[in-house]
Every structure is written in C-alpha cells, then in structure tokens.
C-alpha cells in the first residue's frame, strides 16, 4: 500500500496545490504520491482529494462531463479551498441555475460574497494551527455551519475555515487560499487523512 493524494486538475491553481502538498508531506517526513486528477478511473485509488481554487461552475461541469461526480462523493477525505469549499457545501447562495455541488459538508456558503476582484484582500490570521497569511480572491463566505462542525479560523465573526467528520469521512474547507502562502493547512489535512 502506498499513500496517494489527488488534486483535481482540470482547472484552477492546481500546480500550487500539488507543490504545497508535496512540501507538506516532506515536512512531515511522509512518502506521499501527489497526482493530478483528470479522469474517473483513478478516483477509487485515492486516499484523499484536494479541490483547488478556480470557478466552481466550471469545476462542477467538467467533473460531471467526465462522469466522476458520484465517485467523488465516495472519497473519504476531501479538502477544498475557495471554489473547492463551494464544491463541498450542502447549500450554496448565488449559484447558477444548473450548478450542483457534492453536498458533503454541512455548511451554507455564499459565492463571491466579499465582492469583485477589487475587494480581494490578504490578511494575517493567528489560529491554533499557526500564523498564516490568508489570501482571499473573490472569496465565498461561510454563512452557517452545522452543529458537529469544528471551526478552525475566523476573521472577526466570519468563519473562514472549518472541518467536519462524518463516520470515517473527513472534510476540510477554507474560503481563502492556504496553498499560496503556507503548508500549514496541507500538513494538517495530511495528518487527518493518515490519522497521525
């Protein structure tokens, strides 16, 4: 058995996630194969999937056209950043008429809620995982979370990172892009995946 984490690779900041995941596994002294995912036939071989930033409308369409949608729902561990977080949410505000999400996490999320690109921002946040520079790009806002969700980061009252365990499944969502500035979240995700 070898360790294998996939990064959904149709579109978005895929290389950034691949690099950050590799660096995170190096920091943890783990041997993990990090693979780009573009086809349904490798979905079942993954220990975990990372869904990058990009456009959630585009990601949904390409996954469905590839016929990997139902398979993705069965992946035990998923980490989504920005568009990826939208993909995980049960309820999405301001989605397009034909847009679907995986509906795995008990969160309500509002697309582009911080506004257009001129409202994008970065902010240093201090959280239990460490000190990180959080970059928000046309970011979504998490409006509501279910009872059994853990909040990992807030900015003032806004929840910007959270996690959920359901049975032996684990999901992690951030509204910002930790892959651009830090390995902290990727290390944390890997630790949850491999129960370290």
């Amino acid at each position: 058995m070898f360790n294998r984490i996939g990064v959904l690779a149709f579109h978005g900041d895929v290389i950034e996630h691949i690099e950050t995941t590799k660096n995170a596994s190096k920091n943890l002294h783990l041997d993990i194969e990090v693979v780009p995912v573009r086809a349904k036939d490798i979905i079942h071989t993954l220990d975990a999937l990372i869904i990058p930033g990009g456009e959630s409308t585009t990601l949904h369409k390409l996954c469905e056209r590839e016929g990997m949608w139902e398979g993705m729902k069965k992946i035990k561990n998923i980490f989504g950043t920005c568009a990826g977080a939208i993909m995980l949410a049960k309820v999405v505000h301001h989605k397009t008429a034909d847009q679907k999400t995986l509906e795995l996490m008990d969160i309500e999320i509002d697309r582009n809620a911080y506004g257009k690109q001129t409202e994008s921002f970065e902010k240093n946040i201090q959280i239990s995982l460490g000190n990180i520079n959080a970059v928000f790009i046309r970011a979504p806002k998490i409006k509501k979370v279910g009872k059994d969700l853990e909040i990992l980061a807030r900015i003032k009252k806004e929840i910007v990172a959270c996690e959920q365990r359901i049975g032996d499944s684990y999901y992690l969502a951030t509204c910002f892009h930790p892959e651009l500035t830090s390995t902290v979240f990727h290390e944390y995700f890997i630790k949850q995946v491999y129960r370290i």
């Binding site: 690779a9 149709f10 579109h11 978005g12 900041d13 895929v14 290389i15 950034e16 573009r38 930033g53 990009g54 456009e55 409308t57 585009t58 369409k61 390409l62 056209r65 920005c82 568009a83 301001h94 989605k95 397009t96 034909d98 697309r111 582009n112 506004g115 257009k116 690109q117 001129t118 994008s120 921002f121 970065e122 970059v135 790009i137 046309r138 892009h177 651009l180």
Partner: protein, 292 residues
Amino acid sequence: MNNRLGKNLAQMLKGGVIMDVVNAGHANIAEKAGAVAVMALERVPADIRSAGGVARMSDPIMIKGIQKVVTIPVMAKCRIGHFVEAQILESLKVDFVDESEVLTPADEQFHIDKHKFKVPFVCGCRNLGEALRRIEEGAVMIRTKGEAGTGNIVEAVKHIRAVNSGIAELKVLLKKKQIIKLKEKAKEYRVSNELVLQTAKLGRLPVVNFAAGGIATPADAALCMQLGVDGVFVGSGIFKSNNPEKMAKAIVDAVAHFNDPGKIAKASENLGKAMEGQEIATLETKMATRGV
C-alpha cells in the same frame, strides 16, 4: 497597487477558457459551457475588423448588463495607453482590464502605468521582450497575441513559440552563468535585470500566460495548451461559428483535456462549421503589431 492579488486571480483562471461576449445571451452561453471568465465587449474582433474605424472601450451599460447575468469574473478591454478608459473600467468593478490591441491604440509610445490601479491588467505580447515590458509596467497576466478575428491560429503559434524560445535562451545563459549576457538581454528588452533573472530561474513567465487570437476549434485551443500556455481566450471563434453552444463547450473540454487526443476528438465531433478563416497576408490591419 496590489499586484499580488491580481496575480493570484490569474492563477485561479489557469486551465480555463475566457470567452468574448457581446450581450447577456452570449454571457449565459459562456457560463453554461464552463467558461472561467468572460470578456465583455461591444463587438467581437471579427466584427471590429470588418467595421473598420476607431474601436473604443464598450459602453458601461453594456458591461454592467453582463456583470448582472454571470457569476464568473468579468473582464473588459481598454485601448492601449488609454488610462482614463482603464479608470472607468476600474470604477465599474470589472475583475480584470485587458489593455488590448484589438481596440485602436490611444498612445503610440506608452502603455498604461498599471501599478497605479487596484484592478489587475492583462496585456498582449508577441515575444519575450514585449511580455516582460508589460509585466514591468504592472501587468499580472499575459496573453500571447494571435491575429484576432481571423480564425487563423498561425500567428498565435508563432508568438507562443517566440516567447518560449526567448525563455529557453535565458535559461541557457543562466545555466552557463553568463550573467553579463543576461544583463545585456535586460537592456535589449528594456526591463530590469531582476525580472530577466527571475524569468530565467523560473523557466517560464513570472505571471500566468494565456493564448489569444485566431483560436477557432477545440484542436486549436489544445494546440496552444500543448505549446505551454496556461489557458486560452476565445474571441470570434465561438460566436462566429455555426453552433456557439456546442463550440463553447467543446473548447472548454479540449482545454481541460488538452493532452488527451481521444477526448479532443470527441469534443470535435459534429460541431458544424467553424468561423470563416482569413489568410494573414490578405489582412488590411494587423492588430498584433500594435503596442510593442
């Protein structure tokens, strides 16, 4: 002003297709097909070409109309050097400004000083020197220019290859530690030594680079991707084809699966007629030569 955040938005667009749209109906088709952003403009390049005259920034009402109907980023074009058109677009809160040779240039000497803006800029280039000059002026995204509105991919290919070979040359100089020659390159390109060195070390442009101009089929789009660009802009190629819905979706699929000929073949089936193409030699106006 905030270079970093614009650069990051461009990173999120990678692997995607950005489509020219002239009305809300087009914008809906683009979003449904899976476009990662739309470029709002009054006429697609093919129509700008046939109309002649001076082409300018679009009516703000038209841009606002597009912003209302889509949830993906909206870009808009201003003329080269026309910083007031850029200010207007910024005030409209477009997500990206394209300082574009498809419109008639407003300044023959200077491009816009893009550092003064909060909105990010994408600019065209035909070679590494042009790309690096635009980056130094503050562009956070580059598109290699094809000949817009022609449905002919040849110029796009030429310019992607020109950028690639420029970078390859820098890599060799760095490998041989020929720092003086790298500095001479910086002088030739009229940019800082740091930018040339950074590009040599990265082995690619330090910002996201899309292809643009002349893409008319899924195969054209995949060709550009295999030549190394991060994504594509499609202008006239979609809405001047016989079946825009199908063509839009097919190009999105071909870009997502650009290394998989079987999937590109499938995307290419039954698309109907692609846009009418033009020989470059017969053109009255070459847009790509604008703004060097």
